[in-house]
Structures are given as structure tokens and as C-alpha cells.
Symmetry: C2
Subunit: 456 residues, 2 copies
């Protein structure tokens, strides 16, 4: 990018919201995946109009634009692999309205998930999608990746709470999709098409979401298992008992040990698996559900079972699960959180296979899972500077993907395709599906300036 | 269409599954909307392969193809306005598999909604989408229109239960979308793009849906209101009490009287509105919810309240609501079921306006509503042969659409655009949205042979 062009783009937002200082460019060259690439300019727009003006110039000059929020995404979706502009939307951080009567919130894309959660909780409401990175991740990023989280099991993912979007197309045109009603069948579902499109179709600048009533009561149970098979069998039994927990989270031995080593939370280090189960509902219902779950757990090889008696105890139980990612990150310099997802009946098989594959490659792996929906996160820890080890990491990831596909699963349950899964796309999508995908990309972004070099 | 071409197309399915007899063509010239147009040929394929072969020939010869199921759709989506072929998918009526472990069913598009419901209920499961026409409507039609129904309020619409599709594109290519896992973020969401596309993008030939556990218990309450305002205020209070009923259905006076006249069910004919409320959950929870609802109702101008004591009584209460459409159909030769949808806080205003508009045009209208999600069905009854009356019907529909839009609503909550709402599309979608819509249509169907003459 020539200086003149940089100046023109910077002038749209003002010099205090534009930077090409090397130390700033480095800060926007990476996300929560392992790759990195320097952008040439970082812009911080504050309105749809500014984004539109930026895209008009970028379109005219064929400059790559990579939109991003907090960069907590795990598949390399926001790495500006072709340089150009990083469009950082974190300054668009206003909750524009919360409509308690109609259970709707309208937010800018830079609003942090946790901030929206807290704002609506004060009103007795809940915004269900809760990715692990919720304390940092933006709603815009959640929409761009169709983020899930532990509560997905009961409540569904980001797309299930989206009512409408404002988005800027590659040429600067402003597209409005959906509306304010929960039921809406007017025209093609462009809202859901943009959700999960990873910044390759448009820049999302305003988001209308639906809210739900906060559950009256929640109960949290932790169970420690001698046998991993028993642990995942318990998952299957709970699910087929017709109970839909809000969360049904599994941690395997390596992860448990990493958490215990890093944070000393008093977890047992001699068990094969821990299940964390949370149920939401009415107090009187929850007693029934908790009893039923405890009965199922008692029928398994459980060494210890804790049912939280109050919020503080529940919070302590959750802390162990929330610490899984951070703990594993400390073990070695780098980590990749895989995101293989299989039909829930294949969970045990997939966990065993993931452990076996990593073991065969001499790799260390901490497994944790949103077990109830078959969404497994084998987190491989390694040193990126060790080329041989990194090759083994890549080989293990590829093998896990093949196993997941063979078990009827998908390349990605919730982390997205980005750079991480792009090489495997043809395993899941045949020639026709890839052609349609390419056609949609060309329609929205004919010159390929939006987040180029990614999955399409 | 030349005879030779008809013969070529008929030979794909065999002469017993192809017809151009005038009496058959008439039978496929209309749906549940008021318009009609004769096709030239009706084909009944039994496999994806046959559909693909048919589309290849149609594509080569630029023959219009209008896919249809049972034709219960209400906006004219399946009327073959450009003639050509009607592709009737009712012979593809197999439930291919029900996977109890993973809560998935795979069905052909011609499976009748009720048949799927009954098949999964036997296994203790439920397929939630329940359009009023469920006893006749096909799952393929439900997907093509993204059908809702009374239970939408708690459970969501058809798109919320779709995991994957097989669909044949205009050129005969077979597109597979989605998969078998609930979480799936691989590529753009083509499954939801096809859902609600009303046969304009592809012919759906196989459908993977997710199932849920059947609720442990259900309770049904009917309340009769002296005042329509009190009736819709009760809706708002129930919703904001954090209760999510499975259904919250409203019938206004004209509808009540029509039902009573047609079927003699013992409904009060002197009330302004009836609410039918159904809650699903655990027996012990439902008592709490029923008490809370009864308390809210007692605070209103309710003349009578019935809480069903058993399934048979609940079924009798539901019969009144299910009879609304059939009863109104008998009043005059024709009817149009409008589908205006507004944020739920605007429900009372919208009902009042709808009644006022129809009254001003000297029209008879029976209002019923999926009140909990602001989805209103003013059913205008008239005689299509009376040109003056029909003009007034059209004027009233147009006015209701404008009011709904002004109240923050949508053109269609669940019935679709088809022919009925096509003239109003630009009220909800601006130039950019319409251009993107047209672009998607051109991508999937470059020569415009799939259900031509409809909303795109």
C-alpha cells in the first residue's frame, strides 16, 4: 500500500484511529491460532458509515481488508495473510438498545460478550451463547464465527439468537438483513448466511439478537471417573434420559493434571475423566433432574461426586473447567485447540482415537469436550520453533479430522474453518458444494478483497 | 412444451408417474392461495437421481419447473405461473432412518409432517415444527417455506431443526449441505439458505432433522375474555413473567363465532377473545407455571377459564383452535390467511388495526394468532368472483402489510412470500438486499427455470 492510499484511508477515521506503526502492526498480525502475518494498516472505525467509506476505497484500490474483533478466534480467521488493512471493530462497542418487552438487544459488533451478558442479566434476561473466550470475545466475532460454548447444548449457538444484521459489502454498500421479529420468512435467510462467514462476505456493523428469560435456578454437579469409557457412557445415558443439561463438559486426565499443576484447585490427579454438569430450570424441576443424574452417575465407576450447594461452590466447580485452556497454554509455548465434532454416540470412540493419534506422534494432548453435543477439543501443546514437532502436530490434526469425518462428524463444530481447516474443506464439501460456496463469495466480494486467503 | 419433450421427461419417471391429462393439470394448478395457473406436465419422481435427470433436461430446454408437496402453502408458492413442469414430490415419502441415540431423523421430502411426528413419538421423541396443516403438509414443503406453527413459541421453526439437506440445483447437479451434527460451522450455512427459499433455488430431495425428547407432561388452559385488549395484555404478561408456553394462541370474536357455527363445540359467542395456552415440561414444574398463568388470567376480564384435567379434555380445547381455519373457509367461497408479524408488544395495536382496516373496506375477517410471537393471521373471507370485493381484499391486505411494517414487523412470519407478498418485497428489503437476493437466485438458477414468476 502506498503512503498516499494509507493517508486516504486514515483520513476516513482520523489519525487517532489509524496506525501503521510496526509495534501496532505486530499486535494485529495474529489471533489465537498459530500463524501470523503483518497487515500494512490498522483502522478502528466507529460507525457503519466509516466502514462503508473504507470499503469503497479498498474496493476501488483492490486492497485486502480483514475485519476482526478481539482476535480470540482459534482457526486463524482474522490473520491478514495478504496484508492490507485490518479493520478492527472493537471501538464499535455500544449496546444500542435492550427491549425488555420484546426480548431483543441491538448491539455494535465490538461489544464484548460478557458485557452484553451482564447488561441483560440485570434485567432478569439472558443472552445464551457463551464461548469460553466470553470475557474478551466480541459479539461481532461471535457472529462471524457462529460461536458456540458450553450452554449450546440446551440453548443453541449464535445463529439461533440472531434476528438481523447490518453489514457492509465489499463495494461499500450497506446490507440490512432480517428484522426485529423472531418469526421472519421474508426473502432468503441472509442473516444466517453471513453468520459464520468469517469476514469473507461482509463486515458486520450492527447486530440484533433475541434474549431469553434468565433461568430461575441452576444446579452444578461434578463427577470424577476412574474410567474414561464410563465417563462418556454417562454422557450418553444422561442425554438419552431426556434430560437436556445447559452444559455437559468433559475433561480428560492430561487436562485435569495441567489445571491442577497450574492453579492448584484440588482436582483429583488420578482419575481418567471429570464431568461437569449444569442444569437450568425451576428449583422444583432441578431436584428431579439432579437426582436422576446422580442415579446415573452412581451406576458408573465414579470416585467422587460433588453437587454444588450454592452459587459460590458452583463457581468453584466451573473454575476448573474454565481453567482448562489457560492451563494447557502454560505447559508448552504453543497450543492448537482442535474442534472435531461427531454424533454424540461416537464421542467415546473419537476421544480414544484422538488420544491414540497424538500418542503415536509423540505429542502431548489435553482433551476437553462439550460432551453433550459431541464437540471435542483435543488441545495439542508443542513448541512451534521445533519444526519436526510442528510437522507431527499437523499430521495429528489431519488424522483426527479424517477420523471425525469417518465417524459422521464435521470439520468444525464451533471454531470455524479459517486457515486451520481450509486444507480439509474438500473432505466435507464435494465439488458442487464448493462451487456454490465460491459463487456466493464472488457474489458478495467479486474482487476478493474481504479476508482473502481463507477458506474460499 | 412439445410432445417430444414431454415424452422425454415422462420417460425418466415412467408413464405411470407422469401426466398431462387436463383433469390432472387442473389439480396441480393451485395451492391454498387464491390464484391458479395450469402446468403442462406433472411428474412424480421417486429419487434424487430422477429429480436430477429431470432438471438436466429442463435446464437444457429452459422449461419452468415448480416443485411442490401437498400444496397446503398459503402464499401461492407452488402455483406454476409460467406453466411447464410441476414436480410433485409426494411419492418420495419414506422416513429413511430415525437415530434414537443421536436424535436425528433422515426423511424424504414427501413425508407428511404428522407421519414423522407419530413415528418419533412412539420412541419418546418429538419433531417440534407443527404447522396447522400438519396432517397433510410435507416436510419438504415445511423446509421450502420454513414453516412455523403453534409450538414455534417454545421450540422454534423448521430451520431450527434442520441439520442437512440434499437438493438438486437447476442444472441437475446434486448439492449436499450440512451434516449429522448439531454443531457445524463448516463453510457457509447453505442449509438455512435453502430453507424458506420456496423452490426458487433448488429441489429438496432429502432432509436431515434433529429431534428432541418428548415433554414429560403438558397442560392446556383456555380463557375467555370480554375484552380483546385484556386478552392481548394477558399474552404480554405471561411472556414477561418468564414463562415460555409451548403455544399461546388467540382467537378473536368473528373466528370464535365461525367455529361455533360450523362445528358447535360449545364456545362462548359473546366474548371478544379466547386464549389457548399450552405448557410443556415436568409435571411438578407445570403446576407452578399453570398457577402463575391462572393468577395472571384472574387479574383480567376473564369470563371463564378451563384448565384441562386430562389429554382428552386438552384435545377438545385444541379442537376449537384447529377448527379456526376450516370454519372460516366455510363462511364464504374464498379466504386469504394474512400472516403479518410484529414485535409482540405491538400485538394489540396490530389486531385492532387489522379489524379496523377490514371493517373500513366492508370485509369480513376472522383473526387468530400465534400471539406469543406476534404472528397474526387475519383471515379475510370473500367471493373471488366478486371483482369489487376482491379489490377491497387486496387493498386491505396491502394496508395491513403497511401497518405491520410501521410497527417494526415483517411481511411474513411463517407463510412466505410466494405470489401473495411479492409486490411488497421492497417495503422490507432495500435495493442492496434485493440485489443480493437476485444475485443468489442467479447463482443457483442462472436461466430462471426454478419456480419462475415468484418473489425473485
Amino acid at each position: 500500500m502506498k503512503d498516499e492510499l494509507k493517508r486516504e484511508l486514515a483520513s476516513i477515521v482520523g489519525s487517532d484511529r489509524a496506525t501503521d506503526k510496526p509495534e501496532h502492526l505486530v499486535a494485529y498480525s495474529y489471533d489465537a491460532y498459530t500463524e501470523e502475518h503483518l497487515p500494512e494498516l490498522v483502522l478502528f472505525p466507529e460507525s457503519t458509515e466509516e466502514v462503508s467509506k473504507i470499503m469503497k476505497v479498498a474496493f476501488r484500490e483492490s486492497v485486502p481488508v480483514t475485519p476482526r474483533g478481539a482476535g480470540t478466534n482459534l482457526a486463524g480467521e482474522t490473520i491478514p495473510v495478504r496484508g492490507g488493512v485490518v479493520l478492527c471493530l472493537t471501538r464499535m462497542d455500544k449496546i444500542l438498545s435492550i427491549d425488555e418487552q420484546n426480548l431483543i438487544a441491538i448491539v455494535q459488533p465490538g461489544v464484548i460478550n460478557m458485557d452484553l451478558q451482564k447488561a441483560v442479566e440485570k434485567l432478569g434476561l439472558m443472552y445464551p451463547p457463551d464461548p469460553a473466550s466470553w470475557a474478551a470475545a466480541t459479539i461481532g466475532g461471535n457472529v462471524a464465527t457462529n460461536a458456540g460454548g458450553p450452554r449450546t447444548l440446551k440453548y443453541g449457538v449464535t445463529k439461533d439468537y440472531l434476528l438481523g444484521l447490518t453489514a457492509v459489502l465489499a463495494n461499500g454498500d450497506v446490507l440490512k438483513t432480517g428484522g426485529r421479529t423472531i418469526k421472519n420468512v421474508t426473502g432468503y435467510n441472509l442473516t444466517t448466511l453471513l453468520c459464520g462467514s468469517e469476514g469473507t462476505l461482509a463486515v458486520i456493523t450492527e447486530i440484533t439478537v433475541r434474549l431469553v428469560a434468565k433461568p430461575r435456578a441452576t444446579r452444578t454437579i461434578r463427577a470424577d471417573f476412574q474410567s474414561l469409557d464410563d465417563c462418556s457412557d454417562a454422557v450418553a445415558e444422561i442425554m438419552s434420559a431426556g434430560i437436556v443439561p445447559a452444559a455437559l463438559e468433559l475433561m480428560a486426565r492430561y487436562t485435569i493434571n495441567a489445571v491442577e499443576k497450574a492453579f492448584n484447585l484440588g482436582l483429583p490427579t488420578d482419575v481418567e475423566g471429570i464431568l461437569l454438569i449444569e442444569v437450568h430450570g425451576y428449583p422444583e424441576t432441578l431436584e428431579t433432574e439432579v437426582s436422576r443424574i446422580e442415579d446415573i452417575l452412581r451406576g458408573k465407576d465414579v470416585t467422587n461426586m460433588i453437587t454444588a450447594q450454592d452459587d459460590a461452590e458452583a463457581e468453584r466447580l466451573w473454575l476448573a473447567r474454565r481453567s482448562a485452556g489457560p492451563a494447557l497454554m502454560r505447559v508448552r509455548p504453543n497450543h492448537i485447540v482442535e474442534d472435531v465434532t461427531v454424533p454424540v454416540s461416537q464421542l467415546t470412540t473419537m476421544i480414544r482415537k484422538a488420544l491414540e493419534i497424538c500418542h503415536n506422534h509423540g505429542l502431548e494432548v489435553g482433551v476437553f469436550a462439550h460432551a453433550g453435543d459431541g464437540n471435542l477439543h483435543p488441545c495439542i501443546v508443542f513448541d512451534r520453533r521445533d519444526e519436526d514437532e510442528y510437522k507431527r502436530v499437523e499430521a495429528a490434526c489431519e488424522e483426527m479430522v479424517h477420523v471425525a469425518m469417518a465417524l459422521g462428524g464435521t470439520l468444525s463444530g464451533e471454531h470455524g474453518i479459517g486457515l486451520a481447516k481450509a486444507p480439509f474443506l474438500s473432505l466435507e464439501m464435494d465439488e458442487v458444494a464448493l462451487r456454490v460456496t465460491k459463487g456466493i463469495k464472488d457474489l458478495f466480494d467479486p474482487t476478493g478483497i474481504l479476508n482473502p486467503g481463507k477458506f474460499v
